[in-house]
Assembly symmetry: C2
Homo-oligomer: 328 residues x 2
């Protein structure tokens, strides 16, 4: 069983990556606050480098290796999404080679973004072939950066919440989406570092609710197939032993229906005028459920994980009109 990190690692990770990342703003909508009767603060990681919080974990990993004099000559990662861009960008920044293995169905725009950061891309038809390829590359000396199952990645992801809590101390609860659990684990650690009295909640698509199932079962449940959800940042088949330890400590996890994520994606894009991935909207949906049961006005922090949305996803998001029924 991997040991949980001590909350102090977040401050160290933040000091390490701070010179290279954006201090993203805390956005809010006065209309939404009025409608819900609470204050909702959004940590806008869509405005982060590469358009997502993932750069934090990738950078913390490579900078930690560099500090230890162990910076590899080449890194490798397997991802169709934001982690791919994060590893590519971080490697370019540190002047090392990056190879990203992507499934063949990856959208052209995500390949292009990854390639534009200078990475070499290899497409494979199945996840099995990808994993075998990554394995053989690491045997030849490339360094593998996993998307969530690593201490430095978890600590890096936690800096988004850490930064937000430093900007506003009056927060009563924090919400973040859960894919493999890296962001949620890091968020839990950041809260322990700065305001351990407040609860941390997760959110995942109901269609890919392996984390909620795992918490109910008391052991890790792995999905048989990649879930068909609009929340493409939450399609990991399972959490890891490492992230599961943190997930057991959080206050709870909400399972969000597809329509509810589409609803909040449209509303957050409309109200915040910024790109909000459906995965991020799941965290808002969770907060909205939680706030309904609160009797006094609360201030909550939503980690908006990213703003990288493929044209295919945008087309699905705007197929129907969810803006006719306002929140609250």
């Amino acid at each position: 069983m991997p040991n949980m990190l001590s909350p102090e690692v977040i401050a160290k990770a933040y000091a390490r990556i701070k010179p290279y990342i954006h201090h993203t703003p805390l956005l809010e909508s006065s209309l939404l606050n009025e409608w819900l009767g609470h204050r909702i603060l959004f940590k806008a990681e869509g405005l982060q480098k590469i358009g997502a919080f993932k750069i934090r974990g990738a950078l913390n990993t490579l900078l930690s290796l560099q500090e230890q004099g162990k910076l590899p000559k080449e890194v490798v990662a397997f991802s169709s999404g934001n982690h791919a861009q994060a590893v590519a960008y971080a490697a370019k920044l540190l002047g090392i080679k990056a190879t990203i293995i992507m499934p063949e169905f990856t959208s052209a725009i995500k390949m292009q973004a990854t390639r534009s950061y200078g990475a070499n891309i290899i497409l494979t038809p199945t996840r099995q072939e990808a994993e075998a390829l990554a394995q053989s590359m690491t045997e030849k000396g490339a360094h593998m950066i996993p998307p969530y199952d690593r201490d430095e990645v978890i600590a890096g992801q936690g800096t988004a919440c850490y930064e937000a809590l430093q900007d506003n101390e009056n927060i009563d609860a924090v919400f973040a989406a859960c894919g493999g659990g890296g962001l949620l684990s890091g968020t839990y650690l950041a809260v322990q570092a700065l305001k351990p009295s407040i609860p941390v909640y997760g959110a995942e698509p109901l269609k890919g609710n392996d984390a909620a199932q795992s918490l109910r079962a008391g052991k890790i449940i792995k999905l048989a197939v990649t879930p068909d959800t609009i929340a493409d940042g939450a399609t990991a088949l399972s959490v890891s032993e490492r992230t599961f330890e943190y997930l057991k400590k959080i206050a709870g996890i909400y399972e969000i229906e597809e329509e509810t994520m589409l609803y909040w994606t449209q509303w957050l894009i409309h109200l915040l005028k910024t790109a909000v991935e459906p995965t991020s909207a799941a965290a808002m949906a969770a907060a909205a459920e939680w706030l309904k049961t609160e009797k006094t006005p609360k201030t909550v922090l939503i980690i908006l994980s990213g703003g990288n949305i493929s044209p295919q996803a945008y087309k699905k998001i705007w197929q129907d009109n969810y803006l006719e029924k306002r929140p609250g």
Copy 2:
């Protein structure tokens, strides 16, 4: 013939409205810069109060009236778009009543936004009825704020460019969209105030190219019907005598095809992770054409007019995928 304003009015307008508006950021995309071989700075007025530059003109008008001891008890405006929200918001800020007359086909979400700022909304089936109604209200003492044909409105709109030029002095050309010409006239004045040596270009939909036609004819040409364009911020039937005087001074006006606006709308949303109205994308399209003929690297300023996009417009924007062919 109305007299043109002196450029100094922009500084005064800016001092007047500054406490009430956002200092919007200058965004840029390193990828886009690399692809085009130039530097493109975007004045992100989508992140302005009410989601568009229009608040600047409405506020400058009301604050000017207040300075003169002439603040009316009620204002009235006719608009289906950003001007409606601007007048509603400015009136609420100054504690006066606002009545907005809207065409019946106005999207629900724009009505809701206007109403949320406390305005009274009256729907009319035709523009003629709207104008007659506005006329009768002004006869009863309400003060009419036109969307562009007024000195204070023009001066207010010019403060977006003024603010941007103060943030970055190395700009070689400025681009802004043209509907009734208020933004473009104000932008021209701002450039005269701070950097009169650089050219100002306009952009309008080819399908609603009354300004370009007017410049070619040397007199104002009025469209017979509201143009059916995705650029809903550029559907005025004609410019006014007042704005035409400024338009005659600018370096030129580009007429942009619908597909080109859709192309740039998708790309700017994708690269900047912020809501960009198709009307704003027209200004980028103009800049891209201009930059093609420039032999040395240039820095251009694009005024992104706003980010208020109805769900119906979003659906049209993402119907096809324009992200497969990258700019440059």
